[in-house]
Structures are given as C-alpha cells and as structure tokens.
C-alpha cells in the first residue's frame, strides 16, 4: 500500500506545482496586462491615493489636495482657482485633466519615470512615487494685475519675458474655479454641465486657445516686413499712399479713423495707426514676404507647445491683392492668439529675436530636488536687429505721443501699439480692443516684459472701444507689476 500512498503524494505534489506555476503566471507574466486593464480600478485608486504634487507660482503652491477619505482619496483644490485656471487647468476625477494639470500629469501624479531614483527597483516593488511639483514662470503680481484689469469682462492677457520667452501672465476672463470639478460627487456633474452651457465659455482659455483678428496691432508685423524687405528704407520718408485707399482690383475704398493719413511717413502712420498706409504697404511688400515675416513671428505654426498646445495663429498665404491689403491691417483671415501678439511685441523688444514661450520653469520631486528644467529655447530671428530697433522707436512714440498714451509708466520706457479689430458678419460685432506693448525700467539693461491684451467688451459703447482706451490701462498695470516685482 505504501507504494500507492507515495503515488498519491506525488499527485498532490503535482497539484502544488501547478498552483505555484499558475500563481507565477498571473502574478508575474500576466501582471502588467491585468494592471493595465481599463476595468481595473487600482490605477485610479493608486493615482488618487497619493497627494498630488503642486503647481507653483512665485514659489508658492496655487493648488492643493484634500483628503476625502473615500476610495479615490485625494481631490484637487485650488487656492485662487479663477485667477490661475488658464495656467493650471483642472484635475478632475471625473472629467480628466487639462492644461498644465494635463501635460505635467506624470510629474504631479508621481507616475513619471524621471521621479524614480532606481527605475528597475520600482518596477519590482511597484512602489508609486509621491507627486512632484511644477514650478511655473508665472509672475503672481502680473497675473493678478491682468485679472483685476479685465475685471470680469470677456478678454485675455498674455505677458512674456522678451529675452527668455518665460510666460509671466496668462489670464482669461471670465474664468471659473477648477476646484468645482475636482471630485466625483453629483455636484461636480452639475458644475460641469453649468460651465459647459455657459454662453460666456468660462472654461475657454482665451489667452492661448482663442484666436482673434489682431487689427491694427498686426501693423507691427507689416512694418517689420516692409522694413526687412526694403520697401521702406527711411521711416521718416513720405510713403506713396492715398487716403482713402481703393483696394487693388476692387472698388472698395478703405478709410481711416483719423484724418491726414495720405502719404504719411511710416513713423507718423504707425503713431496714428493709418489703415490706408499699412494696407498699401502690405500690398507693396507682396504676399510672399508678408507671409514669410508673419511666419517668422510665429504665425501659421501648428507646433507651439508651452507645454500645452497653443491655437494656431494664421496669416493666409493664398490671398489676392485686395485680401492682402486687409490681411496686412490684421483683418480678413489674419487671426492671432493673445500669446502670439505678446510674442510679436517681445520680438521687437528683444532686438528681433523670438524666444519660444514656455510656462514651466522646472519640475521637482516632492522633496524639492529638480527633475527637469525647461530654460530658454534657441532664439529665432523674426526680423533684422536694425528693423527691431526702428520698430522699438516707433512703438515708444505710440505711447509717448500717439494712441497708446494710457500705457505710459513714469520711469520706464514703454512701447506699444493699439488695435481695434472689426469682426462679425459685415463687421457687425462689437470691435475687439487690443493693446500690445513692452516695457523696460530705467535701471534695466533690456526690456523686462511684453504683453498683449484683448478685451471683447461687448457691453461698452462702440465708439469708446479703442485699444488705447480699454486695453492699454490693463497692459500698463501688468507691466508695472512686472517692473516692480523684478526689482
């Protein structure tokens, strides 16, 4: 009988081996597939089981985490939600993530492999790293100034540091509190529905995701193209431009807001924002050179990431001469994001060089040691340095004695350009008020800030809407904030 008992024991040993092999199969070889199965809630539980890293402005977190004690444990909180929403975006358990919360999710949630000191060991132990922090380039005071300047009116502000491309302010108005989308309770669904149904589109990031006709602020680009192409060699020489100007090949005549634009020099035409002069200049430069210059400033570029994507600003290269005339004064198909126009202004301030804008200074581990830094990317020449110097002078005159006097800051050199953009069918919409500018404090060796402001301001009386009246004061407040905080 002993023999048969041994056989039975061997059978049991086989069963034991089968169990061990099966456990190894499930726990080692199939583990990854099971872990990644979308129906497996563990990834979500682990993701929300740790305090999410923070987004920092001026070294202080503008985000936070709240321990709910639920299965999805931590919910996102925002210290000053509406103010920083165009930077942070939201991080919702229910609706995913947007903007920096989205592009930096790996660091914030702790899943980024860069946070791991010993990658293979972590693979083995399945330990999750604590979420790291994201240090932004935002200047809190400038952000605050822009937000208060817009005061709830529809519009946006973008400010960059010309020499580096660091984004100092990114404001969209009206805004919303991303905190109301954080959790997964019924209130979150209600907030989501309400925000999406809102006609003012508070979740739209107007600073980078909305394009507007740039109107007269685009004349900076047209002037740069004319100077670079040699169409204008002396800014003080009279141009050959009639007023009103009949668009080539049509009987439509283009007029100006102010009188006396006929044959004005580039300097005077820029100061008084003469449509006729710039429309003809654009036609004289030609669609090829105009497109090339616009492209050099960043128009028609799909690829801009700051690190979240920026809507493409457009300058239509397939226009006829009449359309080119309109395009050259920032109308027709010419459209730009506020960030793009801040880049145009920054290029002038920075000697013709464009630095690609960026929003993330560096990312750190939870302990504060740096994981990655962004830093300025290589500069791109948008125009000759001599052209930039001349444009700088022109823009400065706009502020000292032109349409942009509202932007003047005592003790600082400020250059600017106003814009009032027509839009809507038959230009029936309330025009957009634009202002692009840059500023250099008297003790600074180079311009510290370039800013673009757009105010949709549907409530104002149409006649009052000019970039100088509505947008310039906001730009000044932002520039002052930067100049003061940098001392």
């Amino acid at each position: 009988m002993a023999r048969y008992i041994r056989h039975a024991a061997c059978f049991c040993a086989l069963l034991l081996i089968a169990l061990l092999v099966n456990a190894t199969r499930v726990q080692v070889f199939e583990a990854r597939a099971h872990d990644e199965n979308p129906a497996n809630r563990r990834e979500n539980i682990a993701r929300y089981g740790l305090r999410r890293g923070d987004i920092l402005v001026d070294g202080r977190p503008v985000t936070g985490s709240r321990d709910t004690g639920e299965q999805l444990r931590y919910e996102r909180t925002y210290a000053d939600g509406p103010l920083f929403a165009p930077v942070t975006g939201f991080a919702s358990q229910e609706y995913g993530t947007t903007l920096l919360e989205h592009t930096e999710d790996g660091v914030l949630s702790g899943s980024d492999p860069l946070l791991t000191p010993f990658p293979l060991w972590n693979d083995f132990t399945r330990r999750r790293n604590p979420g790291g922090d994201v240090v932004t380039t935002i200047d809190g005071a400038a952000q605050q100034a822009a937000f208060e300047g817009l005061a709830g009116r529809k519009g946006a502000v973008a400010a960059v540091e010309p020499t580096t491309g660091r984004i100092l302010a990114l404001v969209s108005s009206p805004s919303y509190d991303p905190g109301v989308l954080s959790g997964n309770d019924p209130g979150v669904a209600r907030s989501w529905a309400r925000l999406n149904a809102d006609r003012d589109k508070p979740m739209l990031n107007r600073a980078v995701r909305q394009t507007y006709p740039p109107g007269s602020t685009f004349k900076v680009v047209t002037a740069a193209a004319a100077l670079d192409a040699g169409v204008v060699s002396d800014v003080d020489a009279p141009t050959d431009s009639p007023a009103p100007y009949t668009l080539p090949g049509t009987r439509t005549s283009l007029t100006n807001e102010s009188d006396g634009c006929e044959d004005l020099s580039l300097r005077e035409a820029f100061r008084w924002s003469c449509n006729t002069v710039f429309a003809k200049l654009g036609v004289d430069v030609g669609v090829g050179d105009m497109t090339a210059t616009a492209h050099a400033f960043g128009f028609n570029d799909y690829s801009l990431r700051i690190p979240f994507s920026v809507a493409r600003s457009t300058f239509d290269p397939t226009v006829d001469r009449a359309q080119l005339a309109l395009s050259s004064i920032g109308q027709y198909n010419t459209r730009a994001t506020p960030l793009q126009m801040a880049m145009v202004s920054a290029a002038v301030a920075n000697g013709g060089q464009i630095r690609t804008p960026y929003l993330v200074e560096r990312t750190t581990t939870a302990g504060g040691s740096t994981v990655a830094t962004t830093g300025p990317r290589p500069a791109r020449q948008a125009m000759y340095p001599s052209t930039a110097a001349q444009l700088k002078e022109l823009m400065t005159q706009v502020v000292t004695e032109g349409t942009g006097t509202n932007a003047a800051i005592p003790g600082a050199v400020v250059g600017g350009k106003t814009g009032t953009a027509q839009h809507g069918i038959g230009n029936a919409g309330t025009p957009y008020a634009w202002f692009v500018s840059w500023a250099q404090g008297d003790r600074d060796v180079e311009p510290k800030v370039a800013v673009a402001v757009v105010v949709e301001d549907a409530a104002a009386d149409r006649g009052d809407i000019t970039g100088g009246g509505v947008a310039a004061p906001i730009a000044r407040a932002v520039m002052e904030a930067v100049l003061n905080s940098k001392e």
């Binding site: 002993a2 049991c12 099966n22 080692v28 990854r32 399945r126």
Partner: protein
C-alpha cells in the same frame, strides 16, 4: 524511504525500543513563532492603515497564544510522539486567516467577521483538544464507520430543508449562526471510506471477474460504497455545492487507488468524472456560467458590465506582483461579497505577493506531506487510509479553491482551509489536524528508529 508496506516488519516492536525524538520543544518554539507572526500581521495592518498598532492586537495575540498553548499541552499530554509540524502549521494558517479577515473588515465597517472567526477558531481548537485527549487510538474510529456515514448523509441532506444562499443550498441557519454541514461530512466520510476500504480491500482488489483487463470487484463489496458515494455527490449537485462534490469524488478515487493499487480505478474514475462534469456543465446553468467565466474571465468587461469576481480576483493577484503591496495596502475588497470567504487567497496574493502566496501554498504542502508521511509509517490499513484521506482532503480542497480563484480551473465555491471566513470550515480543519496528530503519534511511536518513517 524503504517500502514500509511491503517489508515484513516485526508485528509488535517493543515500546522500550529507541524512539524517534519527540521534538515537543520544537513544536512549542514553532507555535510561538506562528503566534508572533500573526500578531506582527495585525500590527502591520494597523500601521499601514492608521499609523498605529491596532488596539485589539494584544487581545487577538493573547487569545491565539492561549489557544495554541492549550492545544500544545494536550499534545504533550496525550500524543507526545506526534509530528511537531502539524500543530504550528494549523496555528499559523489560522492566525494568518484571522489577520486577513481583520484586514478586510476594515473595508467593510458594517460587517465585522474577524471576532466571529476567532470564536469559531476557539471552538475548533477546543474540538482539537477534545479529540487529542479523548481519542486514545485512531483504530477506535473503525468501529464507528457506519455511524459516521449515517451522520454524514444526514448532515449532507439537512441543508435541502433550508433556503439557498448565493445560489448554493449548503447552509443551515440556527440561532443566527450559519453552519455548513458539508464541511463536517467530509471528515466523517473520510473515516467511513478508510474503514470500509481497509476491511474490504482484498475483496476489492482480487475478487470478481475480469473485464477488458480490468479487475472488477463483486457487486456485494462495491455496491454499498458506490451507493454512498453516488448519494453524496448527487446530493451535493442538487445543492449546487460543486467544490465539495469534486472533493468527495477526488477523495473516493484516491482512497480506492491507495487501497487496491488498481490503476484501472483511476482511469474509470477520470472517465466518470469527465462524463459527470460534462453533463453537469451542460445541463446546469450555474455550472455552465462558471465554466464560461473560467474560459473568458474578461467577457463581462468586454460586454460593458464591468469585471466579474474572477476578473477582480485576477486583478488582485496581478496587483500583488512578486512582493505584494503589503498587508493593508491592497484593494482586494473590489472583489465584492466573497472576498473574505472564497476569495481570501486573492487578498493574500495581492498584499503578500507571489512570495507570500508561495509560502502559504508550501505550508499547505507541508501539512499534506506530513499527513502522507504518517500514513506511510503506520502499519494498520485503516490508519494508513485515514491519514491519506485526511491529507488528500486538504490537498484537493486547497487545489480546487486556489486553482479556481487563480483562473487555473473553473471556480467552485469552497473555503480555503483555515484561511477563509467560515466557522464550519475552521472547526473541521482543526478536527482534521487533531486526527493527523493522533495518527502521527501512533506512527512515530511504533518504530524503533532504525527505519526512518
């Protein structure tokens, strides 16, 4: 090991001959280790979840320790030659089970199972002590073979009178307690099979006609055995207790083979099993869905219904990986209502990892191996068959449930010995360990040390 069964050894070795070392001290040391490991598990859960040692840890530890020590004293008193590994393994598995259930209780504040399980463990250890103290010689049980089988049949049929729970009609409820009589029945049936086969094995092996090279026993000998077995399995199928019917079937085939040594029985058994499994799987929707789940564990996910229990169980095992998430840090509670009972192993797999799970499997393997070893060392056929049967019950049960929750074989609801929530199961397993202690005491006490058991 030499052929203890075929070698003709002196029928009665004098008791004064050199015995195997008794090793009661080792048993005590291992018990202390097992209790300490359990208490450590409690502390680990508490520290992981709340950052503090749970207030009940000392109480649980003391309770488990006192129970284990009383059992140890009983062994010292009445079974001094018993295998020193059996009791510590029982204590460790039971303690680990309590830790896992306590850990899952934290996720279900409205349903605390650990205190009840501790009460049942106490009852189980008490039964262990009673068996060790009262049963001087296992051969006595041979006399009660027919009492055992009658009791087993009554216990098996009893739940038919009670309402079904979660698709299976295997519980009876008395005064708030649920009892699963099928658990007790398996020990009783093992006793009966062992006694009957021991008495009739020659008739089974050598009598009767030959058919296609297969030695058929006479109907007079085989008839009662087949009848009882068919009744038990039939009743279980009616009650939809597939795990236990599979267990009885396996137990029957193993014991028949060990008693007669006829490979033909195995072949016939497997054939019958295949036919039976196919018929049940085809005709019975409850079983049919289990087989479907086994073949396609993620079908419900693809159908948009979310993961079923088996898928959640596989997710749990996978989440544990090699080293596990650590006690208290897994999410096996996602499995749902059976997490503390049928699927307790998934919690072990997730929180202790492949390492811990393998350790648990090896503990069971050791327990089974010690049972077989006792069987090998014994002389009397009844004792041999009893030890083999009891060890096989543990082995088959572990395989059926662990293979089920791990996706190796179709899932059948069964309790993991000692680990799973379930009073009847804990009590039964303590009874099994008690009987193994008793037979191993006889086995190790009867040799003179010149021939290793």
């Amino acid at each position: 090991m030499t052929k203890a069964g075929t070698t003709v050894a002196p029928a009665d070795t004098p008791a004064s001959a050199v015995r195997l070392p008794r090793r009661r001290g080792i048993e005590l040391a291992l018990i202390v280790l097992a209790v300490l490991l359990s208490v450590y598990g409690y502390c680990a859960v508490g520290l992981a979840r709340h950052g503090t040692v749970p207030p009940g840890a000392a109480g649980y530890g003391a309770g488990l320790g006192v129970l284990a020590l009383l059992a140890h004293l009983a062994v010292r008193l009445r079974a001094p030659d018993a295998d020193p590994l059996l009791l510590p393994i029982g204590v460790l598995l039971n303690g680990l089970g309590l830790v896992l259930i306590y850990r899952l209780d934290l996720e279900t504040p409205g349903d605390r199972a650990a205190p009840t399980q501790l009460v049942w463990s106490t009852v189980g250890v008490a039964l262990f002590i009673v068996v060790v103290l009262a049963l001087r010689d296992h051969r006595v049980l041979q006399r009660y073979a027919y009492v055992c089988v009658a009791a087993a049949l009554v216990l098996l049929t009893l739940p038919i009178l009670f309402p079904s729970v979660n698709g299976a009609r295997i519980w009876i409820r008395i005064a708030g307690f649920s009892i699963q009589p099928g658990e007790f029945a398996k020990v009783l049936l093992a006793v009966f099979f062992a006694a009957y086969l021991a008495a009739n094995r020659n008739a089974l092996a050598f009598a009767g006609r030959r058919l296609w090279g297969l030695q058929l026993p006479t109907g007079r000998v085989l008839g009662p055995l087949l009848a009882i077995w068919l009744i038990s399995v039939g009743v279980l199928v009616l009650e939809r207790d597939l795990g236990t019917s599979l267990l009885f079937f396996g137990l029957f085939v193993v014991l028949l083979y060990v008693a007669t040594g006829l490979t033909g029985w195995i072949a016939l058994g497997l054939l019958l099993a295949a036919v039976g499994a196919f018929a049940v799987g085809w005709l019975e929707p409850h079983v049919h869905s289990r087989v479907e789940d086994w073949l396609h564990p993620f079908a419900s996910i693809e159908a948009g219904l979310g993961p079923n229990q088996l898928a959640q169980s596989l997710f749990s095992f996978a989440a544990g990986g090699v080293l596990g998430t650590g006690l208290g840090l897994g999410h096996s509670v996602l499995i749902g209502f059976a997490a503390k009972s049928d699927f307790i192993l998934a919690t072990a797999g997730e929180e202790l990892g492949l390492a811990g799970l393998s350790a648990i499997f090896l503990l069971y393997g050791l327990l089974v191996e010690r049972g077989y070893r006792a069987g090998l060392a014994l002389r009397d056929p009844f004792g041999r068959l009893l030890a083999t049967g009891l060890a096989s019950i543990v082995a088959l049960q572990v395989f059926v449930i662990a293979g089920g929750v791990g996706g190796l074989i179709p899932l059948t609801g069964m309790a993991m010995p000692f680990l799973a929530q379930g009073g009847s199961s804990v009590v039964t397993n303590w009874a099994i360990v008690a009987l193994l202690i008793r037979v191993s005491d006889s086995a190790r006490g009867q040799y003179d040390g010149t021939e290793a058991p």
